[in-house]
Each structure stands twice: as structure tokens, then as C-alpha cells.
Amino acid sequence: MIENRPWLTFISHSVLILGIIAVALPIWVAIVASTHPAEAFGQGSVPLWFGNYATETWQTVLFSAAGNGVDVPVWKMMFNSLVMAIAIAFGKIAISLISAYAIVFFRFPFRSLCFWLIFMTLMLPVEVRILPTYEVVAKLNLLNSYTGLALPLIASATATFLFRQAFMAMPGELVEAARMDGAGPVRFFFDILLPLTRTNIAALFVILFIYGWNQYLWPLLITTDDAYYTLVMSIKRMVSVADGAIEWNSIMATTILAMLPPVAVVIGMQKMFVKGLVDSEK
């Protein structure tokens, strides 16, 4: 706002504050709930201030067992989720970089056909091809393994497309200069292309990490062993107990822990993320 009117400032601030409350309240409630015993939430009241049960809840959740139905501590599931998210993010980036490199800089027969085939897989996310993919993974004996968790999600048309655009924006004379300087395909890729797409890679990493971390359906389907449970799917497991009380305190603690890594990644890479999407140094 350019004008300096007190009531306008007042209104805009109140709207902002209301928005923040709307977003932050559930998180606050979750934190508070994790400090009360399990029954407190089930009785219908929503406590708004800390209880005195915090240490017990967090200790059980973190180190012994997350809650009914899930017998693994949260740190173990967090590790699983982390492995999956990082494997998916790095796998997607590596494969997309290589395929975009091939499509943009090399002339081979059926080049544009290849690109369009990759592009068409946009229409086939995991949810659509889940049964055949499950069958393939099962036949490869990859159920209950990190490979099985990450591999089927790695192929990515979106990332390939993004890198293709970034590579195509590379000035032609730069490519030619590298050629004159005797940089072969591999050198050119590592010395010129990779450093120049650094910011794009960072931006993509943020998006893909969150995508991998939030995977729910796929891990639910292919893991039957507690040792490979991921955090996000376990929360659902903890809620749907057939008999007995739902342990809301443990669930809330787990939820908060599940939120932390994506938040950390976003905050940590925010600068590069914006840079990667907005400007380029070319």
C-alpha cells in the first residue's frame, strides 16, 4: 500500500493476524495435545495449554513404540521416510538430468518421439499404474525394501521437462565455446551444464523431497514389515485402531515430527528455491 492510512494498516494487519491464527492453531493444538494423556482429547474437549504428560509421550513415541498398531519408534520410521524421500529426489534429478541432456544436446533418430513418450508419462502417475507396478515390484522381490519404496517413483516427466527448458535456454555460443575448448560430452555435462543448472536442481530438490516424504499410498501397499514403515503412512495406521482408545497424544507428537523435515528443507533452501524458479545467471 502506498497510502498511509491508519485504518487501512489496521485492517490489513488484522487480516494477516487472522490468517496466521487459522494456519497456526491446528499446529498449536497438536503440540498441546501431545503433552496431555491420551484420554484428554477423547473426552471431547480441546485443551489449549500444555499438560504435564509431555516427557512420557515424547519418550515413548521417539524411542520405544509410536502407538497402538505400530510397534516401531518414530526415529526408525523417520529414517525410512528420509531414505525414501532422498532416494526419490536424487533419483529423479539424476535421471531427468541425463534424459534432458540427451534430448537437448544430441541428435539421434526418434529424438522428439522419445521426448513425447517421456512427456506422456505425466498422464500415468503411480495411482493410475499402481497394480501393474506392484506386480513388477513383487516379481522383482522388492517388497519390503528401500529399493521397492523409491524406484517405481523415480521416473519423472516433470523434472525432465524442466531441465529440458533450462538446457534449451543455454546460449548456443557457450556450448560451442566449450566444444572449441575441447570439452567432450561428459566434461561438458559436469563442468558447464551442472554448475549452470545448480539453482534449478536445488528448486527441484525441494519440491521432490516433499513429494517423496508425503508418499502415502505406495508405501502403504508394498510394506508389510514394520522395519520399512514410513512416517506418513504410520500416522494413518495409528488412527485406525479397531478396539481401544486412540492415542491422540502419540499421534500428535508423531505428526509434528513428520512435519519437521519438509519444513527444514523448505526453510534451509528457500533462497536457492526462489532463485532457481525466478532468475538464472545465464
Binding site: E176, A177, R179, M180, D181
Partner: protein, 354 residues
């Protein structure tokens, strides 16, 4: 140092377009050759063919006696300076300059020594740790040249390297490039569309028109004896006055109704293009060959350009006089065209008449 020979080198695109039919060019060791022509004449394509960035579809290119047609650009022992400089934005100046050597497996100390040596020559020593983004246009241009020089190539190729600089820097860099080339003695091929740049830099000029080499020769040769009206119009600023005329039994007839008749001694009879440079016309009160009606005057201080037309000839004429002059608009100036300054071209074959 090397001699470069192009014999019948041509380029035909897959769609059938003949960008360059066949160019013959014999570049001597250490020579500075400038390829000049209007945009779209194929000069950059020809340079890129020598560089190996475009394939040669016919003819043969040899550097130092070795056939180069099918060699990779990096294996031709040449270096190129690009119009946009094409510096690697993520590398320092030193990194940019040493990259070619690094790829050739030269050890670190030798690279550093060579880079420092060249940086000193180009006055870049204090900038070695900077990134290209932090440099001015002129400095980037120097780095691009340094990158070409560190490798001690057989041939330098320049693709309109000065076109991104402002006028003052351009003149400065032009002089610098010439001096460096003299000092290093490296065979150089330089592309430009600016005829002043071409005239001042070249040992020999190649004027290209639609893929043909119209004329190859020293700048003065081209100025004094242009082979075709195209070269005549292209070399020299302001451009030569060219008129369609007819040679008939020792008379040069200009315009309709034989409005201008000039006496001459010539065996040729028929339609010709007659040319005379603006600086070769002589003002005279009596015995004028023809009179020019003044249309516009440009006073540049050291010289004056007078634009006008001859009555009865519907083509404009430029006159260049040294020093300041203030002729009235619409006044008439008597002019003499000395015969030894004439340029006559056969209108049909477009070739110079002897």
C-alpha cells in the same frame, strides 16, 4: 603458425539451400584476413565452417597442409572469439582462460604460468579471480581474447567480436587486436559487417555477397580498383556514387535525354555502371562536367558532406569536401569528375571494365 587453404569450400543445407557455393581462399602464414559483407552474406557461416562448428558439404579445408574437413573443432588447433564472448559464467577469469588447457591435460603449474603470462599481456592480472558477471564489456572482450590466446593456436577466428561494445571502446579494442595479432604473428580470420573495422584491420579483405567472394585483396586495392559495383558500394564511407550510364562512341551518357555527356576514350559500347567516389569530385566554377543541385549538407567539422542531384538524372549524388563549407540549399555547384578516378563496370556482367 599456419597457412590456411580453402579450396572450393561450400555449404549446402539439407533443405537444398546453397548458403555458400564455393569459396577459394589462400591464407598465408600470419596473415590477417577479414571477411566482410552485409548481413546474411554467409560470412559467419564460412568462419564457422573453418572452426568446425558447421560441416563443410563440398570442397576442402586445410590448415598447415593437413585436411581438416572431418576433424572436431578442438582438434583443429584453432581458437575462436565469439560475438557474445561466451564466457563460462560460473568460472573465474583464470578458470575461463585455463579451461581449454585443462581439458587438454596440461598440468596445473603450466596452466597457471600461461594464464598469468597472457593476463599480463592483456592487462587482466588484477581481474583473474573475478567472475565474468563482475566485468565490464571491454574486460569481458579481453578475457574472451585471452581464452583464445592461452592455447597458442595456429589460427584465431573472430566472429564480430566488437559489435557489443560502445563506439569508443570499439576503436580502442580494434587497435589492440591489430597490435596483438602483429606481436603474436598468428594467422587470423575475422568476420565483421563494419567496413571501417575491415579496412583498418585487414592485411587482405574478402568481400562476400550471397556466399560468393566478390573480391579478395588489400584494403587499398579494393578501394582503388573495386572489381564489381557491389564492392565499390560496400567499401568506402560515404559510399561511392554509382550511376547507370551508357558508353557510346567515346561518350559517357548519363540520365535521360543525354542530359550529361562526358568525353572519354573507351572501346566499350553499351550499358555500364559509372562510379566516382564522393571525395574525388572536384568543385570548379568554369568547365564543369555537370552541375549538382544541393539538397542537404552535413557539416562534420573536418569535412563536409553535400547531398544533391544532377538535373535530369534521377539518382542522388554525394560530394565530400574537406573543411567547413556552407552552400545554400538548392544552389548549384559545378563539378568535375577526373577521368583517372572513374570506375566503370559492365552493366550486364557486373565486372570492372579495364
Amino acid at each position: 603458425m599456419a597457412a590456411v587453404v580453402l579450396s572450393k569450400v561450400g555449404k549446402k543445407y539439407p533443405n537444398g539451400f546453397h548458403a555458400i557455393p564455393a569459396v577459394d581462399l589462400d591464407i598465408k602464414d600470419g596473415e590477417f584476413i577479414v571477411l566482410v559483407g552485409p548481413s546474411g552474406c554467409g560470412k559467419s557461416t564460412l568462419l564457422r565452417m573453418v572452426a568446425g562448428l558447421e560441416t563443410i558439404t563440398n570442397g576442402e579445408l586445410s590448415i598447415n597442409g593437413t585436411r581438416m574437413n572431418d576433424r572436431e573443432p578442438a582438434d583443429r588447433d584453432i581458437a575462436m572469439v565469439f560475438q557474445s564472448y561466451a564466457l563460462y559464467p560460473h568460472m573465474t577469469v583464470a578458470g575461463n582462460m585455463g579451461y581449454g588447457l585443462k581439458n587438454r591435460g596440461v598440468d596445473k603449474e603450466s596452466i597457471e604460468k600461461k594464464v598469468n603470462e597472457v593476463a599480463k599481456m592483456l592487462d587482466l592480472t588484477h581481474l583473474l579471480e573475478r567472475k565474468p558477471k563482475q566485468l565490464s564489456g571491454g574486460q569481458r572482450q579481453r578475457v574472451a581474447m585471452g581464452r583464445a590466446m592461452v592455447r597458442d593456436p595456429q589460427v584465431f577466428l573472430f566472429d564480430e567480436p566488437l559489435s557489443n561494445l560502445d563506439a569508443k571502446l570499439r576503436v580502442q579494442m580494434r587497435v589492440e587486436i591489430r597490435q596483438l595479432q602483429r606481436k603474436l604473428g598468428t594467422t587470423t580470420l575475422y568476420v565483421t559487417h563494419d567496413q571501417v573495422e575491415a579496412m583498418t584491420l585487414a592485411d587482405r579483405l574478402v568481400v562476400l555477397n550471397q556466399g560468393h567472394a566478390e573480391q579478395i585483396g588489400s584494403p587499398l586495392e579494393l578501394y582503388e580498383r573495386p572489381a564489381t559495383p557491389f564492392v565499390a558500394a560496400f567499401i568506402g564511407s560515404p559510399a561511392m556514387n554509382l550511376f547507370s550510364a551508357t558508353l557510346d562512341s567515346n561518350n559517357l551518357i548519363l540520365g535521360e535525354n543525354e542530359s550529361v555527356l562526358l568525353k572519354t576514350q573507351h572501346e566499350f559500347n553499351g550499358p555500364v555502371t559509372w562510379g566516382i567516389r564522393p571525395e574525388h569530385l572536384v568543385v570548379c566554377e568554369q568547365d564543369a562536367d555537370f552541375k549538382m543541385r544541393v539538397k542537404a549538407v552535413e557539416s562534420l567539422g573536418a569535412e563536409t558532406l553535400i547531398y544533391g542531384a544532377i538535373d535530369g538524372v534521377n539518382q542522388d549524388l554525394v560530394l565530400r569536401l574537406s573543411g567547413p563549407h556552407q552552400p545554400e540549399i538548392n544552389s548549384e555547384i559545378g563539378l568535375k569528375a577526373p577521368q583517372d578516378k572513374w570506375h566503370l563496370f559492365d552493366a550486364n556482367t557486373q565486372q570492372r571494365l579495364p
